[in-house]
Symmetry: C2
Amino acid sequence: MRLLSDPARAAIVDALAAGPACTCHLVEDLGLSQPNVSNHLRALRHAGVVKAEPYGRYTYYHLNADALDAAAAHLSELAERARATSDNRREC
Amino acid sequence: MRLLSDPARAAIVDALAAGPACTCHLVEDLGLSQPNVSNHLRALRHAGVVKAEPYGRYTYYHLNADALDAAAAHLSELAERARATSDNRREC
DNA sequence: TGGTGATATCAGTTTCCGGTGATGCCCCGG
DNA sequence: CCGGGGCATCACCGGAAACTGATATCACCA
């Protein structure tokens, strides 16, 4: 989840939200170098945010919607806890 | 939203989810130095994730639940878009 | 089967960011 | 009014992470 901090990775995730794409698409659309994109994809892959799908000579990536939902649920839970506990201020 | 990338900041947000607290509480609970905590709080404050509330000599911080919900909604929207577009794979 | 294109990996460099120390401000209590 | 403590800001340093270039690997096609 802390992976979306980097602007390049956020751009990759945003591009993949429009549908599965192979590495060359991302390289063209984002204007980044190919190793750079590949490194970011590896990080996102290890975190389970994206899934790789070899397709002949290409490699297609698509978002893992469940992981995004889990992160969203975590944030919602924090917001809910914050609202529920907004009155018990600890004294110094 | 990219602010939750740092473990220290995530810990601060998590601590604040238990209720408003002043800087000294966070310093004690998280075992971080006071300037360190203050710097993180400043970043979170500028991002609108937390709100500062001067209280005599102390400064109480509390989470901005709306900002967390907005971030959660953004992630949910990404997940939904990913699910909706999972079939239109672009050809190379 | 050799060549080409797509992708992944690796080492090196540079840039960015978090942690620390020192300092100043403001509020409260004496 | 003045001393002390809570808090914020600034300058600096060290480490981590992103970008780059080179290279290896694999699949397709002639």
